[in-house]
């Protein structure tokens, strides 16, 4: 068992670098369209790729590096995914002009369920 341990550690170091690099690539790919033109919603789609998924990959890479701190890293991962996704939804639905349907009833799931 003991000769396997350094090998596992070296492997986890390499995998963590790989995850961090992949997250960085997603960051660049998803943030670059902000500089270009194009539809606002399309840019939001790509920003969700970079900020949610890329950052989650980076957090996984950090988790391989410091496994002793897993509770806080798990909390950060959960918070990152939930908050960024909900913020993308709020930005998309708020940036649109209001829907021109005759019954103006706002049944959208507003923040009433954020009380958890």
């Amino acid at each position: 068992m003991s000769p396997l341990l350094p090998a596992i550690q070296a492997l986890s170091g390499h995998v963590s670098l790989l995850l961090l690099g992949a997250g960085l690539l997603l960051w660049f790919w998803g943030t670059w369209p902000l500089l270009e033109g194009g539809s606002y919603l399309g840019r939001l789609h790509k920003l969700s790729v970079s900020d949610t998924l890329g950052s989650a990959l980076m957090l996984l890479g950090l988790l391989l590096r410091i496994p002793g701190q897993w509770p806080l890293l798990a909390l950060a991962l959960l918070g990152l995914i939930v908050w960024n996704t909900i913020f993308g939804y709020v930005l998309a639905s708020c940036s649109l002009p209001p829907p021109h349907e005759p019954p103006r009833e706002r049944t959208a799931p507003h923040r009433s369920d954020r009380s958890r």
Partner: protein
């Protein structure tokens, strides 16, 4: 790891450049939310490199608190624009 930090800082410069240009307010909100999560992630990576977990704690808390102020601001702007 140093290369990684430089790359992350370069990626952080992109939304900052977007904010510095004249653009619509919604573009600006998206860029600011991107800045927020990127800065928190950079904080945690720096914490791992310098082996100083207090810094990482700040990053983790700011990630889990999220940009809830921006969320309220977006709702407020929508109501104002209406």
């Amino acid at each position: 790891m140093t290369v990684l930090i430089w790359g992350m800082l370069l990626a952080l410069l992109i939304p900052i450049a977007v904010v510095c240009r004249p653009c619509s307010v919604w573009d600006r909100m998206a860029a600011f939310s991107s800045i927020a999560s990127k800065v928190a992630l950079i904080m945690m990576v720096v914490a791992v490199i310098r082996d100083d977990w207090m810094l990482g704690l700040v990053g983790a808390i700011s990630l889990s608190a999220g940009n809830s102020g921006m969320l309220l601001l977006a709702n407020l702007l929508r109501e104002v624009e209406r």
